[in-house]
């Protein structure tokens, strides 16, 4: 890790003062749990001169539920705290299951919601300092013709990274938005609009977050009546691994008919991948094998596998069917 200056503000205003202008965005980085950023710094993928530590900010480590049932999660809430929150467990199963599936006990104890949503991609070319790939400002995505069994089958081009967050698909499934704050203003962005495809905008970034902005909160609206949800994650190794594919699924069922559906895929696309056509297809149907199969087919219809990851298509379809089946009729 390269030497840096550690700055430890205690108020949000101080943080906003310290945030960099665009030209300095790589020299000044914000850190909360650091469970991804520190590995990037150890691997010299990130070499900031200044690290702004958010951990001493007050109030951002809370989960609050208002009278309307809106849940507000501070960016500094640890993933462990999110997974263990009983309110989340009872109302937003998909979110607590996703949180519990993240990495390992030790990482969940330190890693934060904000950090998880803003973690950098998984791709072994991106993560190798020696491969100056597109994501790192190079000219080529090596996974496209290289060893790509873990890479994206959806949303690829010109980069084929996968977005590794477990929380993101789950939170998108729950209709979450994120609050982004900069000096003098703030904005709310639907989480599904927060992530950017490699083909739109700056290929070295994954989100719309500006250099002088930070993500402070996640807000989840009260779920619709009869809402049931789940997150299933398939890992190559059962112990501590990233998803080969994951599915966040939520449905509202009334009199055995699906009234509302949300399906979001993780581990298979360059961004958390919502599949609206599949969702629409489910609405008005019974949650039976035929409609599940139909939805799964639709969800993967646009998949464009690379040389070594065709298997992800069948795997993801199967996981979608399994996730929906788990939600019951």
């Amino acid at each position: 890790m390269k030497a840096f200056e550690l700055i430890r503000p205690t108020t949000l205003d101080q943080v906003l003062e310290l945030l960099p202008k665009k030209e300095n965005r790589d020299r000044v980085r914000v850190v909360s749990g650091g469970q991804d950023l520190y590995t990037e710094m150890k691997e010299h993928l990130a070499e900031p001169d200044q690290l702004i530590d958010l951990k001493r900010l007050p109030d951002l480590d809370r989960i609050e539920v208002d009278a309307a049932g809106t849940v507000t999660i501070g960016a500094l809430v640890t993933i462990a705290a999110l997974a263990e929150d009983l309110r989340i467990q009872s109302k937003l199963t998909v979110v607590s299951e996703a949180a519990a599936s993240v990495a390992s006990t030790q990482i969940r104890n330190v890693g934060t919601v904000g950090g998880n949503l803003n973690q950098r991609p998984r791709c072994w070319y991106y993560r190798h300092e020696g491969a100056k790939c597109l994501k790192k400002g190079g000219t080529e995505c090596f996974s496209k013709e290289g060893l790509n069994k873990y890479n994206a089958i959806l949303g690829g081009g010109p980069s084929y990274i996968v977005h590794p967050s477990d929380l993101a698909p789950a939170l998108i499934c729950a209709g979450a938005e994120v609050v982004l704050v900069k000096k003098g203003s703030s904005r709310s962005v639907l989480l599904e609009k927060y992530y950017t495809l490699p083909s739109e905008g700056d290929v070295t970034r994954e989100t719309v977050l500006e250099p002088d902005e930070i993500l402070t909160h996640v807000k989840i609206p009260a779920p619709p009546a009869g809402w049931r949800s789940t997150y299933i994650k398939f890992k190559e190794r059962g112990s501590f691994d990233f998803a080969l594919a994951s599915v966040a699924a939520g449905i509202s069922v009334d009199k055995e008919v699906i009234r509302f559906a949300r399906l979001v895929l993780g581990g298979v696309a360059t961004i958390p991948w919502r599949v609206p056509q599949a969702e629409e297809k489910l609405v008005g149907k019974k949650n039976d094998p035929a409609s599940r199969k139909e939805a799964a087919e639709l969800a993967l219809r646009r998949a464009e596998p690379l040389s070594d990851n065709e298997y992800k298509v069948a795997l993801t379809k199967n996981l979608i069917e399994r996730a929906l089946a788990q939600l019951g009729a």
Binding site: M1, G130, F142, E236, S239, K312, R322
Partner: protein, 761 residues
């Protein structure tokens, strides 16, 4: 029951097992408390006044012309040295990750700054880092005369063809076995304690305490006798840690230059790139069997992938024997290999060289690679012939041990009730999974070697020490070194201190090839026996009795004629019993200040380590929707001669099965051929099996093996597990994988291919 040690016995003998008080029992490791409390000090943990932290720079290209400029690095704050290895500023490298420069600094952080401040320019030379590259005309040449080594061949191809043509069942397959890494949790490295004086101490993470001092002395400009090597604790080796290595040599040179202690432990990435590996292989097998299931034809074409090294492979037929291809006559006993014959055998083994670091010995070198193809083929043949795979194996194993072991494994794993023995499960269970069972066998010959010297010393204060230079890799050496000596006097384990891991103690062989136990145990036994005899002789004078009338029992000196043990126990409980002539403390108090000791050497009569056998079975569940292979149970039967510590033997057997499981499901070095980069040189991307992968393990000691002395069994335990898992996968879902590891993508692709062929799903 015999007492443990009598006066004037004929010589050291292990004696009957039921008389043993420590050996063949479940012992607690003597170093357990040190290890669970963080007090055990490994090389990695050594801290010395004035010590500097050294770090290597590795060449990031497979082969390159390198020019080094270390001037900026040397000038950094807190940096003591930065230079090319061997003082060179220009060099040609021959493998990916070859160490080229070294730095030393006040802290590890500053050492990292220094290593990154070295200005290196690399001119890439044409490379070969995959078999495809090495075999192509475009790939770089590793050796002047080509990348493909000379084959070692056996047998006659025409005779093989004839036998193969006449076979009732035939299987052909090309198997791909990746390069595996040792992944010792403690990386390679040393700490050199040298301040420019007359002596030096080298703390080394090594399997060969006595392989270090000589080379270290040369590098330090000292005589070997002036250098002590200490290996108090070491964090795993698995075959990769012999000798001083480049890292050790470099640390010694730095210590000599700086006249300061130097700490040089490789980083995890260094370890993956430049500390050895288990060679991979590409194996083409053609095997034929007669209608009875006897193997009659085998053609094996093997390429070993050991980087710049040769790699390792056993005989392609491995533990199995071929039979004469003529049909067996009526009167021949079925179930036995009829008329062993090598007529149908034709094999060719050669190395394919690449610009990656040399393979090294790794737990049973060559055996796991050899096991997977042949064990897979045997199941395929058994399925074709509708012969139970256990029966099929028994027909082709020309020894009496394996069949019994296979039966025991089969019984324990529930083979008799398993419905689908020669075909995959037809319909999946309700949870969308299919279950299968597979088997495989292992062989090893772990000969002991001369050269081990042990001293067992008794002190006037009642202390008992068992002293030998050997190191404990985690196998339990320290514990049995103490146990053998304690048992000689009928003392509890806690009464004896094992002093090990020091080159000033008695010589010991390096721990490789499961040879530590058969080399060391006899030496300890001899030393303990001699110490006991010397002590008895001394005590005979003290108590004025003939030595023949004396013996140690329960740590006391007793009259050998009084009551055998069983009665004695009753008497003792009844409050009577033979009075000890002297307690241990009293007896020791009669010694002079120097105490008394015995020195022992390796004694062939105390070990019989030929022909080690084992068999393992695995039960797996395959999730058809995800391709996940979940191992449910592994059962291993292993002969081990006299188990010195039954708990440790079982732990080793578990460990072998676990490493095989990890090899089966996850492990593979991944190198991008175009970039010449290893993509998974870390524990995130190079996956080891973790807690969630662990099934039930059933480690079984082969209790039939009672005639032999202690045998090392670490190697055979690691050989068959992945092959059993491969067979279990095929038995479950019909997917025969020819390429390791058996990951979900391959299972899903295999299921899709079966479905396309109209097979079961």
């Amino acid at each position: 029951m015999e007492p443990v040690t009598k006066g004037k016995a004929d010589g050291p003998q292990w004696g009957p097992r039921d008389a043993m008080t420590l050996l063949n029992h479940n012992l607690r490791r003597v170093d357990g408390p040190e290890k669970v409390s963080g007090r055990a000090r490994y090389t990695h943990d050594i801290r010395l006044p004035g010590m500097v932290y050294a770090r290597l720079l590795l060449c990031p290209l497979p082969t390159a012309q390198v020019e080094l400029d270390c001037s900026a690095a040397s000038k950094l704050r807190g940096v003591f040295a930065a230079r090319g290895l061997g003082g060179k500023t220009s060099m040609k490298t021959g493998f990916l990750g070859q160490p080229i420069a070294v730095v030393a600094a006040e802290t590890p952080e500053l050492a990292e700054d220094a290593v990154r401040a070295i200005q290196a320019t690399y001119k890439a030379l044409p490379w070969s880092v995959t078999p495809e590259q090495a075999l192509s005309t475009e790939g770089g040449k590793v050796k002047d005369n080509g990348n493909l080594g000379k084959p070692a061949t056996e047998g006659d191809e025409d005779k093989f063809k004839k036998a193969f043509d006449s076979s009732a069942a035939k299987v052909e397959g090309e198997f791909h076995i990746p390069i595996q890494h040792h992944c010792s949790l403690e990386t390679h490295g040393v700490v050199v304690d040298f301040n420019g004086g007359e002596t030096a101490t080298v703390y080394a993470s090594t399997q060969g305490t006595f392989t270090v001092s000589g080379d270290a002395a040369d590098a330090l400009g000292l005589k070997a006798s002036q250098v002590t090597t200490i290996v108090d604790y070491m964090g795993g080796g698995f075959g990769s840690k012999f000798g001083l290595g480049v890292e050790g040599l470099t640390a010694c040179e730095l210590a000599r230059e700086l006249k300061r202690p130097v700490h040089l432990m490789m980083t995890r990435e260094d370890e993956f790139l430049a500390a050895g590996n288990r060679s991979g292989s590409i194996v083409k097998l053609k095997v034929g069997a007669d209608s009875e299931g006897r193997l009659i034809a085998l053609d094996g074409d093997v390429m070993k992938l050991g980087g710049i090294g040769g790699g390792a492979f056993n005989k392609p037929q491995y533990a199995y024997s071929l039979s004469d291809s003529k049909p067996p006559s009526q009167d021949e006993e079925s179930g036995k290999p009829a008329r062993p014959s090598k007529d149908g055998l034709h094999t060719s083994i050669r190395s394919l060289y690449m610009h990656t670091d040399s393979s090294r010995a790794m737990r049973a070198p060559g055996h796991p690679q050899t096991s997977f193809p042949i064990e897979s083929v045997i199941d395929d043949l058994a399925y074709q012939l509708k012969i139970d795979p256990v029966t099929m194996r028994k027909k082709n194993l020309a020894n009496e041990v394996h069949p019994k072991q296979l039966d025991r494994v089969a019984e324990r794993i529930g083979w008799a009730k398993h419905p689908n023995k020669t075909a995959p499960q037809e319909q999946p269970d309700a949870d969308g999974t299919k279950t299968g069972i597979g088997f495989a066998v292992t062989i090893w010959g772990s000969h002991g070697g001369a050269g081990c010297e042990c001293k067992v010393a008794i002190g006037r204060d009642g202390s008992l020490q068992s002293i030998v230079g050997s190191q404990d890799l985690g196998t339990g050496t320290r514990t049995y070194v103490a146990a053998i000596a304690a048992e000689e006097f009928g003392l509890p384990l806690s009464a004896c201190t094992a002093k090990i891991g020091n080159s000033n103690y008695g010589n010991a062989n390096p721990s490789g090839g499961s040879s530590t136990v058969p080399s060391l145990a006899p030496a300890v036994k001899s030393a303990a026996y001699k110490a006991a005899q010397a002590f008895l002789e001394h005590l005979a004078g003290v108590v004025k009795r003939p030595i023949e009338e004396l013996e140690f029992r329960g740590g006391s000196l007793v009259d050998a004629k009084v009551l055998p043990d069983a009665k004695e126990e009753k008497e003792r409980k009844a409050g009577k019993g033979p009075k000890a002539l002297m307690t241990w403390k009293e007896a020791c108090a009669t010694l002079g200040a120097a105490g008394i000791s015995g020195e022992g050497r390796w004694d062939q009569s105390l070990t019989h380590a030929d022909g080690v056998h084992g068999a393992q079975g695995a039960k797996v569940k395959v999730d058809l929707a995800t391709g996940r292979v979940q191992v449910l149970q592994m059962v291993g039967v292993q002969d081990c001669g006299l188990p010195l510590n039954r708990t440790a033997v079982e732990s080793q057997l578990n460990g072998g099965m676990i490493q095989a499981l990890s090899y089966a499901l996850h492990e593979e070095r991944v190198i991008d051929p175009a970039l010449g980069l290893m993509l998974n040189a870390n524990f995130n991307d190079y996956k080891l099996a973790g807690c969630q992968e662990m099934p039930e393990f059933v480690p079984l000691i082969d209790e039939d093996d009672i005639g032999r002395g202690p045998i090392g069994m670490a190697e055979p335990a690691v050989t068959p597990g992945h092959s059993a898992i491969a067979n279990a996968i095929c038995n479950a879902c019909g997917v025969r994988l020819h390429s390791m590891p058996f990951t979900a993508d391959k299972i899903l692709d295999g299921l899709a291919a079966l479905a396309a062929k109209g097979g079961t799903k």
